[in-house]
């Protein structure tokens, strides 16, 4: 049941209505049942896995709390806590590893044995990846870490905890919530507030705009190019990589917004997951605005435990590389994703290493970093660096990423920007123009956000007539120009045969 399906549009109002009708004691049970139903619509069997993850991390939390309160001495407590933490991590990461990385590991072994000229048939397994497993696993492990570190008390109410792990708006695509934020909100029942409804719907509307009008439209172009790298090289890949960045931003951001909006209606605040990333002026800054829930999770639960920047520069660089390589691997089981992460790690390390030189150059040239021209240039450079990394992400394998990159260098065809060739890559001229217009709207919205202007709050202050009109225009725009519904193909309507 994806967010842009008819089933979800029927499911959500029923869940919301039910939530505000049922007594306070049953609200979480209602939401939990709805969340499990939502998850089972993807694949009923895999409810066992989310339940297992929930039970393991729930009891680990209880055990950690009990250890903390016990009379044992500190060293014993630490050992027991470490073992408990280890059990939680091993089981959850084991499940994640099995479903996500088994065939990847098998292919690595196959490659190693081939390189060593050892003939060995390595089996491949027909394993269906449970949807959302990467998200709820991190969320549950984050909770375990929070209890371990005494950041929060263990949640005794199993229903509340199970709901925290499986809360349907953010279950399949994030944001990866923190226990300190979400558990606290789930512990109390929420009353209906009209303002929450209005604001939640507006957030969802914006989410549907970026997802259906931008992401799914850009995908048509990107898929045409990247699925046919033999036919499309040079500037096709440059344009494709640029559009891919918008596709992945708007796809992820759209889903996060819809999740945030749906939760808002229920009275629950989810964290911001994207914060104008393409208006950032450095790679470090970019990651403050890109997939925030994931990047902060790895920062808090991997980077800092590894020592962060507290153990010298070299260790810091190693830690940076580790978290970016791991985050790349978290995205998918292929070297394309690993390379993507590695490239961002390298950017950060190189950026740090070159920082003194860059500062010196700016001083020598009297460059004001706050000047608009410098800011725009920095944004463009940051975006281009992201495009290079994104190319590997989209190519989905290291080899194809290198093929694509080489093609950019070798195939010289800038005329395609002017001779209409771009309109033959999955979308026609009108759709391409609409895509550019929609991206411009996105930039304007992100720029307003950067300046501290929250457009929906400005809208909420207008007269009800103006608000209604704006919402009608937005909704009609999405319905007409969004990529949704059964595909329309004019040629399929040529029906003269029968």
């Amino acid at each position: 049941m994806s967010f842009n399906s008819l089933e979800f549009l029927i499911f959500l109002p029923i869940v919301i209505l039910g939530y505000f009708i049922v007594p306070k004691k049953i609200k979480n049970i209602w939401l939990l049942a709805a969340s499990y139903y939502f998850y089972m619509c993807w694949n009923p069997g895999y409810i066992v896995l989310i339940l297992l993850s929930t039970i393991v991390t729930y009891f680990c939390g209880i055990i950690l709390e009990n250890i903390k309160r016990s009379d044992r001495d500190d060293s014993k407590k630490k050992v027991l806590k470490n073992w408990t933490l280890a059990v939680s991590f091993v089981i959850n990461l084991g499940i994640l590893g099995y479903f996500k990385y088994t065939n990847f590991l098998m292919s690595i072994f196959q490659s190693i044995f081939s390189a060593l000229h050892i003939e060995l048939v390595v089996p491949t397994f027909d394993i269906l990846l449970p949807v959302g497993i990467s998200f709820y696993t991190l969320q549950a492990l984050g909770y375990t870490m929070d209890v371990y570190r005494d950041d929060i008390y263990a949640e005794k109410n199993f229903i509340s905890y199970a709901l925290f792990v499986s809360f349907f708006p953010q279950l399949v695509a994030g944001p990866i919530e923190r226990s300190k934020n979400l558990l606290k909100q789930l512990a109390v029942g929420h009353k209906f507030q009209f303002d929450n409804l209005k604001e939640g719907l507006m957030i969802m509307l914006w989410g549907y705009f970026v997802k259906l009008v931008i992401a799914d439209r850009a995908a048509l172009f990107v898929d045409t190019v990247f699925n046919n790298l033999d036919s499309y090289g040079g500037w096709y890949i440059i344009v494709g990589s640029a559009l891919f960045m918008f596709q992945v931003y708007c796809d992820f951001h759209g889903y996060s917004l819809i999740a945030k909006g749906a939760a808002k209606i229920l009275g629950i605040e989810l964290m911001e997951n994207f914060d104008y990333p393409f208006l950032r002026t450095s790679v470090v800054d970019f990651w403050r605005g890109w997939h925030i829930s994931m990047s902060t999770w790895f920062r808090d639960y991997l980077y800092i435990p590894l020592g962060g920047s507290r153990k010298g520069k070299i260790r810091k660089y190693i830690n940076l590389m580790i978290i970016f390589l791991v985050s790349g691997l978290w995205h998918g089981a292929s070297f394309g994703y690993v390379l993507w992460g590695g490239i961002y790690g390298a950017y950060q390390v190189i950026g740090e290493v070159l920082m003194p030189i860059r500062k010196k150059i700016r001083e020598l040239l009297c460059i004001d970093v706050k000047a608009v021209g410098y800011q725009i240039l920095a944004m463009i450079v940051t975006f281009m660096l992201s495009m290079v990394a994104g190319l590997f992400f989209r190519a989905r394998s290291g080899r194809m990423g290198i093929v694509a990159l080489r093609s950019v260098w070798e195939d010289y065809n800038p005329w395609i920007l002017f001779d209409g060739s771009l309109y033959k890559c999955g979308i026609d001229q009108k759709n391409f123009t609409l895509l550019m217009l929609a991206i411009l709207i996105l930039f304007i919205a992100d720029f307003c956000k950067k300046q501290g202007i929250v457009i929906r709050k400005v809208l909420m202050q207008q007269h009800v007539f103006v608000r209604c009109l704006a919402l009608i225009v937005a909704l009609v725009f999405i319905l007409v120009f969004g990529v949704w519904g059964p595909a329309y193909d004019a040629s399929a309507f040529i029906y003269f045969q029968f």
Binding site: C468, V476, W484, P486, Y495
Partner: protein
Amino acid sequence: MKKIIVTIISYVLAIALLVGILARLTRVFELVDAKNAYTSFFDKNEEYDVLFVGSSKVIDGIYPMQLWDDYGITSYNIAGHGNQIPSAYWQLMNALDYKTPKLVVVDINFLNSEYKYWSPEYLHQWMDAFKLTPTKIRAIVDLMDDPAKDEPGVPEGYTKGEGFEFIWNFCKYHSRWTELEKKDWKVDPSMMKGAEIKLGLTSIEYVPDITDEITTDNYNGVIYLKKIIEECCDRNIEVVLINLPNETNGDTAPNVNKMWNIADEYNVRAVDLSDKCLVDYSTDFNDGVHLNMLGASKLTEYLGEYLINECGVDSHRGEQIEELWEDDLKKYNDALSEMLQYEGGETLSKALMMLKSDNFESIISIRDAGVLADDMIVKLLEVNGVDIVEVQNVVDKTGNCYVLVPARVYNSRTKNSLRRGCIEKVSYTDKLDDELAKYIEECSFTQDVYVGDDNYRFRIIAFNTVTGRMTVNNY
């Protein structure tokens, strides 16, 4: 309090405005083909004694307005493109919510098909015309449950649809914003009463298909044909099963055998129209399956006689509704005139076929007797009343022949021919100044008829007596 009231009113108005906008957009964005084809069907003033049901073979093969013109029969062609028999069943059920005919003629094409519908696009061609009613919802639910499409070996083009696209077709058509044209903003009801006229020409070889094989009962085609008959019987509607002519394939005879079988079982009439020597397989087909204008006219004429003589369908000439139908007939003939225009570039066979229309008078100029060696050309000339022997004689004498072909309205019922235009009868001349000059003066043909370039073997100068448009085609 005042603020709450204003807010509520604002939201109610906003919802109403949104619904209104979406309703209008739905109308604009949807393909108008279905609405154009079936709008006149829903006219409250019209009733139909006969409904024709089936696939595009019926759409192209039976002309309701010719049935009215020649026999006074009121009918509508509610066949659907690509209709498998289950989708034809539901099309009929939806139609019966609006009209109650005395007789339904059902084509048995796709009798041995397992599929309930061909593709969602084909379904849209008729479903889009019908309002959302309980019958339509039942149709959607039943047709979308097409398990045969989940089995391996589904032929190309047989695709699955989604039920919601038929409930609110905007979800299918909204991406048409890139191709909206003037015609999308206004329904232009067709005057053809559901029929379509094909002007192509493909010669096919008729191979009689005789076998003892019979299509079995387990096909959805058979199941739903029986449902059509049973439903019509319950409503006291007579049923006639028909098999239309087409290029013979291995399914034809077993399906026809099953048709006779079902007809016996339910005591309904059945006609195998492929067996009646009705059509000329060399000139009367648009392609291997669908009849063109020549073939459809012949088939319709036969059906008219059959319905009047065998089925007891009444002629409504002289009744109150005649005025309404005559008005429709005039609009139909006007539409036909507009449609049958030479655009230039028509093939010779198509050009000759179009001449058959009542509205054209023409001068055919033949300078190369070699064209008469083509059997199809000869047949098409003969269809237009041209005597090939006369032509051959004139060409042999002088190497040139002008044939004057009149426009005439021929009524097969009365067997009368009403002349239109200036040319009185088919006549032949090799001289430019003779009879030809007389007509050039009287009619609207210009001097360009015989002056100008001589670089042709065959020339058709056609004058549309209704629109006043004249075209010259050289071959």
